[in-house]
């Protein structure tokens, strides 16, 4: 089961990462397009050769229309996709200053408790994200420049949030099972290893 859950969480993170890289490349292309466009309009190039300037502009180089909106929508999806692996690897920031003095059994209890609460919150977030998506859909709200429906971006994030919920449920179940059986089910019980 762990093997399977871990594979899903890793796959989700990698998909999110590929989207992030795509956004990085898109932004770079937009910067390049903007630079060439400015160069084509510059008095320097026009002075050197009007023909060359016209030729450059005729290729249609310009910043990518609505790059800003694509980045915002894409990065939200990426971050939702990063949630499952963060939870599975117990990578959320915590303070162990007091609990480190307690017994291992008590620590297991505390961890299980927070895992359950965290999962409950992620389920809540997922449910509300769906409600948000529904409301964006019903209002027909679009983005500014590209004018694509905002709910598309919500829907993509919702898919990731559903995966995060399943991974969360598994983690909560495993932590509770760890208390009962005393065995380890999760990969990194002492915090994140990167």
């Amino acid at each position: 089961m762990l093997n399977w859950v871990e594979r899903v969480a890793r796959a989700m993170a990698v998909i999110g990462g590929i989207v992030l890289i795509a956004l990085i490349l898109l932004t770079c292309m937009s910067v390049l397009g903007r630079g060439l466009n400015t160069f084509g309009h510059s008095s320097l190039l026009e002075g050197l050769s009007q023909g060359l300037a016209d030729l450059l502009l005729a290729t249609g180089v310009s910043p990518i229309n609505g790059d800003f909106e694509i980045v915002e929508a894409g990065v939200a999806f990426a971050i939702f996709s990063f949630l499952p692996i963060c939870q599975l690897y117990a990578a959320h920031a915590t303070v162990d200053i007091f609990t480190s003095t307690l017994s291992p059994a008590k620590n297991r209890l505390i961890k299980a408790f927070w895992e359950v609460v965290l999962t409950a919150i992620i389920l809540l977030i997922t449910w509300r994200l769906y409600a948000g998506m529904e409301s964006k859909m019903s209002y027909g709200e679009t983005t500014f420049l590209l004018q694509f429906p905002v709910w598309w971006a919500y829907a993509a994030s919702f898919v990731s949030a559903v995966v995060a919920s399943f991974v969360g449920l598994y983690c909560a179940y495993a932590r509770v099972a760890e208390i009962i059986t005393g065995r380890h089910y999760l990969p990194y019980t002492e915090g994140a290893v990167h």
Binding site: R34, N37, T38, S62, P63, Y139, G140, T142, F144, L145
Partner: protein, 318 residues
């Protein structure tokens, strides 16, 4: 106080609109209700979220009153865009009155059916602030600029400029770093954004106005309905046509100081002649016809909206 209301909006407290419109409005409500209504003002998005969410926040009751732009959520309040079309604006007071009247007729039960609308107004004449002087439409060729509304984005694209999307607080950095060459906003906002320090040219359009943007002051419907009648009356007395007209007039009045500051810095104010403006009007006409067609296709009767809006603006413009 019997009732405490939370007002949420996106500008810092010391900006013009909070200082000259919203806070005086709050004080007036508090006084006229004999202290029975208290309004807590949360400027600069203190209650969380981003400006485009203000409308949902007032519908959902996160805030009781919000001040926002319908244009922040494109596609949702399309009818308001009729006042944002190029060269329909005359002066902010007249257009705000027209906006309120058309709003009462067509929008309150449709676009704004989920909220209690307290005021509808527009800002003073919007203009172009640029590094290189812009006189004719061809000067826009390849100019990277940040346009404020969906309509102006479409217009500048049609006119040959390259609109670049960014939130308004990013404008000063983008201007100073050359990410954009120009920005399009009314004078009133240029003070806070230091635009006059970053550009040297300001293109105005004589007696005509390139564009304006629409605002709405909205209240949560349930909160309003739950008020006792005498308190409802206090709110009603301070909302509607007169308040909208006042707010529009005040915003245009707030244009004066930043405009003077730009002139004192020695910036060039390019005031186009009627002949020059005619070229711009002709070039911008496509944006208007496109918009009408788009609204017609959405079933919102773009043709009717435009003629009603123009008639109302003409009626109120002296």
């Amino acid at each position: 106080a019997d009732v405490t209301l939370r007002m949420h909006q996106f500008l810092p407290e010391q900006a013009n609109v909070p200082q000259n419109i919203l806070i005086p409005w709050i004080k007036k409500i508090q006084e006229e209700s004999g202290g029975r209504i208290e309004i807590q003002h949360f400027p600069a998005m203190q209650l969380g979220g981003k400006p485009p969410q203000l409308m949902d926040q007032v519908i959902d009751g996160i805030a009781d009153i919000v001040w926002t732009l319908p244009g922040y959520t494109p596609g949702r309040f399309s009818r308001t865009e009729v006042f944002e079309l190029p060269f329909t604006m005359t002066n902010a007071e007249a257009v705000s009155k027209a906006y309120w009247e058309l709003g009462e007729e067509l929008m309150l039960d449709q676009d704004f059916k989920e909220i209690k609308v307290l005021g509808l107004w527009v800002h003073g004449p919007g203009l172009i602030h640029s590094k290189e002087p812009i006189r004719s439409v061809k000067d826009l060729n390849g100019v990277k600029l940040r346009a404020p509304t969906r309509v102006t984005n479409a217009m500048f694209k049609n006119l040959g400029a390259t609109p670049i999307g960014m939130p308004i607080p990013a404008v000063p950095a983008a201007l100073s770093k050359g990410v954009i060459d120009a920005t399009v906003i009314p004078w009133e906002v240029t003070g806070a954004l230091k635009v006059s320090e970053l550009v040297t040219n300001h293109t105005t359009f004589g007696d005509d106005t390139l564009y304006t943007a629409t605002f709405v002051l909205a209240m949560n419907k349930d909160r309003y309905n739950a008020l006792p009648d005498d308190l409802k009356a206090v709110i009603d007395a301070n909302s509607g046509l007169n308040f909208s007209a006042f707010a529009g007039k005040q915003m245009q009045a707030d244009d004066a100081a930043p405009r003077k500051a730009a002139m004192d810095r020695g910036n060039t104010i390019i005031d186009l002649t009627p002949d020059q403006v005619a070229e711009w009007k002709a070039a911008a006409a496509k944006t208007t016809t496109d918009w009408v067609a788009e609204m017609d296709a959405k079933g919102l009767d773009g043709t009717g909206l435009l003629s009603k809006a123009t008639d109302l603006i003409a009626k109120h413009t002296k």
